[in-house]
Symmetry: C2
Subunit: 320 residues, 2 copies
């Protein structure tokens, strides 16, 4: 597969910052779209010339976990930039070309070659839009739900869009950054809360009957953000979390138990959502590609990481 | 309200054993049914002579949390054996008579005075049957679900019955006690796993496609039982937990996140379930009262506690 567009993920910043140690140099990048150049003899649904979306992992879509909607737990799947379970090597996505295991399962072809302006939104189906959607689905967002979104990175903003798409009546985005607040509003946020901690919780409750939200979407992964999320939920509410837990914050069972607040989510099985979301991207009903606020050639990947690390950019698109 | 039948709860054993400290002597007991003797001037739906079921807490059923289905988080509710929020004292249920705050909200009258043999099953709607049902609802048990139940106390056994009632196709009860295994089977368990820990998890997975259960109902509340529950769930599965967390075991976020296993539940809002479950008890469709395997006069409450503490009895019914 020839990569047409790739990008840097918030989770790529953990090794970049050294928070997660890198024991040996390896290729990186797991969000990409592109064109199929060649297929193996067993591939039947994907053909050379197809424009395809790759999820941030590979999966066969035939095992019991894939069929249960949890393709991230595929019994035969794996991760980009590492050896795959078929005995080959699946390259990282921040590169020119990638060998894709389980191409029939992992890749989804678009109806035809997309227009240039659709490519950023298609790229978000590789991870951030599917992940935001997973947060919303995990939290049970439905017609009329009240929603709080913790995290204003690309995933948090996509979670706002996902909640809006699923019919939430009230969406409170927690954000301190003006440009992100603006995009959150464009994506469907009805309210912005710029404070955090006790003050943030109080602001959320004041907006929501004094009790908190039906659904809270957590898109950061720190102890503080999870605490914010749990305290923003109403009794009987549900936290849908997709922020990769960093440093393994444990979930405090007692406040969850006392007020029947559930916690659901995890590493988002975005492959299971591609077809559904692709329809809305293709029709123009949603435009999650707006999370990209910087585009650089692949050779300037170092600057892409720096811009995201310093929060000068929400999300950077890379062009090989 | 004159108490006709009360009982001892598994959670009463924590203070009995000294695991939870008792700082000052107080009345105890929170599961009881009986006859209304007298009502206050504002009570409209309950009348003297009614046979009523009391949930294990009082609640008004008019506040936003009660209306959201979480009456255990009632803004005006309280607990038996303590001062209530209306300025009175709500007596413990293991006694002759109880003053019930929010009688219109808290109490549910039966269609008529019940036959003697229905009383144990009606008493379970006060707590254990509603709590088992809450575990099943929280875990999302529905037609065709595969279910594992961790815990073979009265709540665990009622959780088996609840899962069966909701249409689960496979119900694995984890139990090492023959009499409890028998009752689990009578309540709808299709399989029994008598092992625990790694061995128990392996046995469960072997029965369920190698991946674990759609829904796991946790009805103990220890670190070990929660660990057993989480490891028995399939990727994308849900743990419904109702065992009062003892010693506050925290939930391990990483295994939950990696396999998208959700955790939902808490202190069961049984009042919200009384009407629904009462229909099935009244018609004889379910007979949760079978969890009582010992009946004693109230004066022998000490022996009731001892029998449960020593696991000579699953659950003891007390008659004032």
């Amino acid at each position: 597969m020839r990569v047409v567009a790739a990008c840097v993920c918030g989770s790529d910043l953990w090794p970049y910052r050294g928070v997660t140690p890198t024991h040996h140099a390896h290729r990186i990048g797991h969000e990409f779209v592109g064109v199929v150049e060649e297929v193996g003899p067993e591939v039947t649904t994907i053909a050379p010339g197809d424009f395809v979306i790759a999820p941030f992992y590979d999966c066969d879509m035939t095992c019991v976990n894939c069929k249960n909607g949890v393709s991230t737990s595929c019994l035969n799947g794996g991760w980009w930039g590492s050896d795959d379970k078929l005995g080959g090597f699946a390259d990282g996505g921040q590169g020119q070309k990638v060998r894709v295991p389980h191409a029939d399962g992992a890749l989804v072809a678009t109806p035809e070659y997309p227009s240039e302006e659709l490519i950023p939104s298609l790229l978000t189906l590789s991870d951030v839009m599917g992940t935001g959607h997973h947060a919303a689905v995990s939290a049970g967002v439905t017609e009329g739900s009240t929603v709080v979104v913790v995290g204003d990175g690309a995933v948090g903003l996509c979670a706002v869009l996902a909640a809006s798409r699923l019919g939430a009546s009230r969406i409170i985005a927690m954000s301190r950054h003006e440009s992100r607040q603006e995009l959150a509003r464009a994506f469907g946020a009805t309210d912005i809360v710029a404070t955090r901690g006790d003050e943030g919780v109080a602001a959320v409750k004041e907006l929501l009957d004094g009790i908190g939200a039906d659904c809270v979407l957590e898109a950061v992964g720190t102890k503080e953000s999870m605490d914010q999320a749990i305290r923003s939920a109403r009794p009987g509410g549900m936290v849908g979390y997709v922020g990769v837990p960093n440093g393994g914050p444990e979930l405090p069972v007692r406040p969850l138990f006392n007020d029947n607040i559930g916690v659901n989510g995890g590493v988002a099985p975005v492959r299971n959502y591609v077809e559904e979301l692709l329809q809305d991207v293709w029709s123009g009903a949603i435009d999650p590609g707006r999370v990209f606020d910087l585009e650089l050639p692949l050779e300037e990947a170092a600057e892409a990481y720096a811009a995201m690390d310093e929060r000068r950019a929400i999300k950077v698109l890379l062009r090989p």
